[in-house]
């Protein structure tokens, strides 16, 4: 599976690149977002801030959006998921708007929500994962208008927030599979298999 990894220029793509490669994917890191238009499969990594990331994607927003909604498999991680929504309380820029809804500040005493927490999900991408603990590091979470797009949830300080999303062949995680040990590697493996079946 050939995967294009969007590089927004802020740093650490090692974790996600090596995790995808460990599962047999060949990863092409692209810093010219125009190249994403030719992608067979895209991963939007979870590093950076909302506005800075969108600055690079904005010129191609509509066309990337069309491609994703017409069936190109993609995975967003953390901020990479938040930019798929219409907007975020973290920034001023519009998002890609693949998911109707927005990213809002967590309602909690301790922010960021940082560490390992459980994702309750019945999605096939969770197949083969026993404990379903994943690594989180975020201050905002996504609220889609259409609740059917929520495929997993997580409890934090007594509140439940959506942590796993899907529309068309686009998946989004609030957690970081690339830093979540064996559970994370398994979900990435499942995603790669899913993407292969899409083509």
């Amino acid at each position: 599976m050939k995967i294009m990894l969007a590089d927004y220029g802020v740093g650490n793509l090692h974790s996600i690149k090596k995790a995808l490669e460990k599962n047999g994917a060949s990863v092409d890191v692209v810093n010219d977002m125009k190249k994403l238009l030719d992608a067979k499969c895209i991963v939007f990594p979870g590093v950076g801030a909302f506005d800075k990331t969108m600055e690079m994607l904005l010129p191609y927003r509509e066309i990337i959006c069309d491609r994703l909604l017409s069936g190109v498999p993609a995975l967003g991680i953390c901020i990479g998921t938040q930019i798929m929504f219409e907007s975020s309380e973290e920034g001023k820029s519009p998002g890609l708007s693949i998911f109707p809804g927005k990213a809002v500040k967590l309602k909690a005493k301790q922010i960021p929500h940082m560490g390992w927490n459980q994702v309750i999900s019945e999605d096939p991408l969770m197949d083969g994962i026993a404990d379903r603990y994943f690594y989180f590091a975020h201050s905002y979470y996504c609220e889609p208008k259409n609740k059917d797009m929520i495929i997993g949830e997580t409890e934090y300080e007594g509140n439940i927030f959506p942590s796993f999303f899907r529309t068309a062949n686009v998946y989004g995680t609030q957690f970081h599979p690339e830093k979540s040990g064996d559970s994370g590697l398994q979900i990435l493996n499942n995603f790669i298999n899913f993407a292969e079946d899409c083509i």
Binding site: I79, G115, W116, Y133
Partner: protein, 250 residues
């Protein structure tokens, strides 16, 4: 439910993980990437890599070692020691660190916290604080816990949070290396005042000490070194012990 984190710490000097009491009698205990991989396989929630020599001539060697370590672990890797500028942070992140910890540099130039939080996101900015008990407060010490700074540790932690820190790595200079347990009053003083997660560090000598810091303070994570390096306990054993006593762990 968010679980409590267990973080093995690698104190690295000249390419080797070392361990000593109060920085004296340093003894080699292994090759960082190998130890990190082993701890990750045991179920460590994160790995912290601190370059305790942090001299300029070793900078590239250290980055290579970070990169080799990052290749072998699939849990978050925090790198610290000798980080002086936002460019140093970028270099560490580019080498494969997921978070970077700053200590003395943030004391000299607090703006580095804000700059790096804006550039890289606050979740990857860890402010490390070495605190020592005075008569009626805790004072921040810089340069590996050797230089008094005149800063009050609680106030500095709050300031670091306001400037954009995502996490505090709190080490008790008094407890460090003594293996008599974490400094619980210090941990409470800081963890009760800030809203960002606090990692307790310094003094862990037994499995009970980890239980104690999680039940008697609101620390989010416990960092330890020798208990792992000398094979006294595996991460798995510690987690079983905590789980049986009602502490939520992964």
């Amino acid at each position: 439910m968010l679980t409590k984190r267990i973080i093995p710490c690698l104190d690295v000097k000249n390419g080797k993980v070392v361990k000593g009491v109060n920085f004296l009698g340093l003894k080699d205990v292994g090759y960082p990437p190998e130890l990190a991989e082993g701890y990750s396989n045991q179920g460590a929630d994160e790995i912290t890599f601190l370059d305790i020599a942090a001299s300029l001539e070793y900078r590239q060697t250290t980055l290579d070692l970070v990169s080799e370590t990052a290749k072998r672990v699939f849990v978050p890797l925090t790198v610290g020691g000798g980080i002086r500028t936002a460019q140093d942070m970028h270099a560490a992140l580019s080498a494969g660190a997921d978070k970077v910890s700053v200590n003395s540099a943030a004391i000299l130039n607090p703006d580095i916290i804000t700059e790096s939080a804006i550039d890289f996101g606050r979740q990857c900015v860890v402010v490390a604080i070495d605190a020592k008990r005075m008569k009626d407060h805790w004072e921040v010490f810089s340069h590996g816990g050797t230089k008094p700074t005149g800063l009050d540790a609680v106030e500095w932690a709050q300031k670091a949070q306001d400037l954009g820190a995502g996490e505090i790595l709190l080490t008790s200079v008094d407890a460090d290396g003594v293996k008599k347990g974490y400094d619980l009053p210090l941990t409470n003083a800081i963890a009760d005042e800030v809203t960002i997660p606090v990692i307790a560090s310094g003094g862990c000598g037994s499995i009970e000490h980890i239980y104690e810091v999680f039940t008697k303070t609101s620390a989010s994570a416990a960092l330890a070194a020798s208990i792992f390096h000398y094979n006294e306990h595996t991460v798995g054993e510690i987690k079983t012990y905590l789980r049986e006593r009602g502490v939520a762990v992964r």
